[in-house]
Amino acid sequence: MNARRQAPRTVPAYLATGGRSATHRNTYDQLTRLSRLGEYVPNGLDSPHLRLLEVLAGGTLTIADAAAFLRLPVFVIRVLVGDLVDLGVVQAVPPADLPDVDLLERVLNGLVKARENDLAR
């Protein structure tokens, strides 16, 4: 673990959003997938926005995983994502585009296989 993230947060979480606690987009699930759109970095972004953009340069993250890595509450990440989506530099994709019954079938089959593989070992 590097020294930078070990240091205590210098800006309170509620200030990372400029005092906002909700975004006008209230549809961001914790499992919404975030990815960068291009490499453009808009001028005037503050540190939390820049940190999120920076980490997304490495790949796709869910909101929950981004929150865990950046050590910011999920509601903060949601606000940051709303801003970055509005600026056109981040894409937010819902967790899954399938009916529940199909998703649960996939999960069931996967869990049963994981169990069989474990017993076979």
Partner: protein
């Protein structure tokens, strides 16, 4: 115990980037009272280290949090506690989120349960009341759920029917016994939950 509130946070060393093939992300919630084994179960099943924010308990909260049977537990999970398991053939990832055990965290529950496809409600038979609030929140959410009794070494044997009766559960709500430390046993509980969720969807569709 120090009465000041000390925050202790465990962050992942590397960002948990998703593979391009992971098309379907599914959330299941593990709910239950303080110390019944939510974090243990999530760790037993997850391929990725469970990430969470913990707060050291304050002296003031000891009276609220009954730890008589789990005295070694000194912290309560208040923020995020989750893990993930990539499922064969690799395009589906199951995320397991721990739901905070106490009613004080109702808002956190709303957030964690949003978008979930089902809930595993964990109980410790030695102190069933620890999970009453969690069960109440789950029932009100309308999400499909399965009751799982976590077997601790000193747990008495309680038949599922007695428990069902005691918890006033619907006849079709599954009650399973599991060992949250064990991968296979925890998978079995999740399998039961997913089967139940599927049955409920099919019944709803047929009616």
């Amino acid at each position: 115990m120090d009465s000041s509130r000390l925050a202790r946070t465990t962050s992942p060393v590397e960002p948990a980037y998703l593979d391009e093939s992971s098309t379907y992300l599914v959330k299941i919630v593990v709910a239950g009272g303080l110390g019944v084994g939510k974090t243990t179960l999530i760790r037993a099943v997850s391929e990725m280290r469970s990430v969470h924010t913990e707060e050291v308990m304050t002296a003031a909260s000891v009276s609220l949090d009954n730890l008589e049977f789990t005295p070694e537990k000194t912290t309560t999970t208040v923020a995020m506690d989750f893990g993930r398991i990539t499922l064969d053939p690799g395009d589906t990832i199951l995320y397991l989120f721990g739901a905070p055990g106490q009613g004080r965290f109702k808002e956190a529950w709303d957030d964690v349960s949003y978008g979930a496809k089902g809930v595993l409600v964990l109980f410790d038979v030695r102190r069933l009341d620890a999970s009453f609030e969690a069960l109440d929140l789950v029932e009100r959410s309308g999400l499909p759920y399965c009751v799982a009794v976590n077997r601790f070494p000193t747990s008495p044997d309680v038949s599922p029917d007695v428990l069902r009766d005691h918890l006033d559960l619907d006849a079709d709500t599954p009650v399973v016994s599991c060992n949250a430390l064990d991968f296979t046993s925890s998978l079995d509980a999740l399998i039961e939950l997913v089967r139940h969720a599927l049955t409920r969807i099919r019944l709803d569709a047929a009616s």
